[in-house]
């Protein structure tokens, strides 16, 4: 860096240096109070300039004034050094630094929840396999405070109108294990007041096919009923033959036991499906409809055409028919010809085939 000069040197020397020149130079280098004053003034000027530049640097780069050196103009001699230039353009962003770690105590945080506790010990499950048949108004339960299971091992039909009381929300699994069918009756008057059965279908029996059906109940302590939770009939059920189940709109429709190679039903919720082959029957006169009782004792919910039917009227070539249920609690399925004509009187030669599906009460 050049030496700061506060005034021009009095002696310009272009030749060789000698003792005189050195003496003159020494005289020139003596710093006087005047010199110190000038230096202080210059320092203040530099300080002001630096402050101005610092303030400018805090502004956006585009707003910065152009920097530049200020060159002295001393008569032919080197001027004083100018002020430092303005700041250069901002450099690229540097790599992210490593976060500092302050080993001081932080604020208390929220604690993690504790581990889920183990399931509590449930009530003791229990099961039994009664062989009772006939009608039960308060079917006995195994002793237990947990889920209960009944493996019904009845050899013949068992009709359940009520089950002994359970505890609140207790589950009861009922399996048909025996050779006999199991029928449940909805809120039967004869059932125990502490354990009537609340079923899906209320107009007829809910059955378990022998050896395969299953039902699940849950005890409603407030209502003191066993509510049906799930039911699987397990298989189609063929109702016992009853000649009185078959009628005609006029005269008689005689259906013998052997005229029913297929007559069965399946209940799912309130949906009843019936399959039937009623053949080689006898009609006494010319009715417009042949009727059969809805198996299981159910009542239909609505009037509706529930299936198509194939009819062999008096042995003639097959023709179409329709099956329909009556409105407001009909107990029969009616079969008619599509052409709305009457059936012919016949002996052992009128047959009807079909399926019917409808909602029951």
């Amino acid at each position: 860096m050049a030496t700061i000069s506060t005034r021009p040197l009095p002696h310009h020397f272009a030749g060789e240096w000698g003792p005189n020149q050195v003496a003159d130079l020494e005289e020139d280098l003596i710093v006087t109070n005047e010199d110190l004053g000038l230096v202080a003034t210059f320092a203040q000027t530099v300080s002001d300039r630096v402050d101005a530049l610092t303030a400018a640097a805090a502004k956006p780069i585009a707003a910065l004034p152009a920097g530049g050196a200020f060159w002295g103009t001393g008569g032919g001699e080197d001027g004083a050094d100018g002020f430092p230039g303005g700041p250069g353009p901002m450099g690229p962003i540097g790599p992210m630094g490593v976060p500092a770690f302050f080993p001081t105590d932080g604020e208390d945080g929220i604690a993690w929840p504790g581990a889920v506790g183990a399931t509590g010990a449930g009530g003791a499950p229990a099961s039994s396999a009664p062989t009772t048949t006939g009608t039960e108004t308060a079917l006995a339960l195994p002793v237990g405070t947990g889920p209960l299971t009944l493996y019904l091992n009845n050899a013949t039909l068992l009709t359940v109108q009520g089950i002994a009381a359970g505890i609140a929300d207790q589950l009861l699994f009922v399996f048909s294990k025996g050779a006999g069918q199991v029928d449940f009756a909805h809120l039967h008057a004869s059932g125990t007041a502490l354990g009537k059965l609340q079923l899906f279908a209320t107009s007829g029996l809910t059955s378990l096919a022998a050896g395969v059906g299953v039902a699940v109940f849950q005890y409603d302590l407030a209502a003191t009923v066993w509510r049906l939770v799930a039911h699987e009939q397990g298989a189609w059920i063929t109702p016992a033959y009853n000649a009185g189940d078959f009628t005609a709109s006029a005269g008689t429709w005689t259906v013998d036991a052997g005229d029913l190679p297929l007559f069965r039903y399946r209940l799912s919720g309130r949906r009843l499906l019936i399959q039937y082959s009623i053949e080689l029957t006898t009609i006494s006169t010319t009715p417009f409809s042949l009727n059969f009782a809805i198996p299981g004792g159910y009542l239909s919910l609505n009037q509706s055409v529930v299936a198509s039917v194939v009819i062999y009227d008096n042995g003639a070539v097959g023709q179409g028919g329709k099956a329909f249920t009556a409105a407001g609690g009909g107990a029969v399925v009616k079969l008619t010809k599509l052409n709305d004509l009457a059936f012919a009187a016949s002996t052992n030669v009128t047959s009807v085939y079909g399926t019917a599906e409808f909602e029951v009460q």
């Binding site: 013998d256 052997g258 005229d259 190679p261 053949e279 080689l280 042995g315 003639a316 070539v317 052409n339 004509l341 002996t347 052992n348 030669v349 047959s351």
Partner: protein, 130 residues
Amino acid sequence: MAAYQTFTSARATEPDRTSLLAQLRALDATAGVQHDPGTSTYRIKKATDWTGPQVTAAQNVLDTAPASTPQLTAQAKIDSMDIFDKARDLLILDQFNLMRAKLRGLGVTGIPDLTVAQYLQAMKDKAGTL
């Protein structure tokens, strides 16, 4: 007391339903038959118990009854014609007989009125030739 008997026939054709029933009823007036086309089994019901000869006779009917044909089916349909079809056809017969009567009035002979039975039989005969 109804009595049922199940038969099996090895015949390769489907029997004409009307002809089969007519032949079985010739054996027993209370006979009725159930058969699903395409199967070989026949279930026959009648009012009284079956005897050995009746079983043999019924088996013979099943094996030999005429095969189902469009002509036989049409003839059976003529026999069981409903009122609409019968009214249409018998009206034509009435008009035909009216013309015959006028022709007879003009001295034409050999054209008596056709009876309903003759007319329907003529229809069946015609169906048998189509």
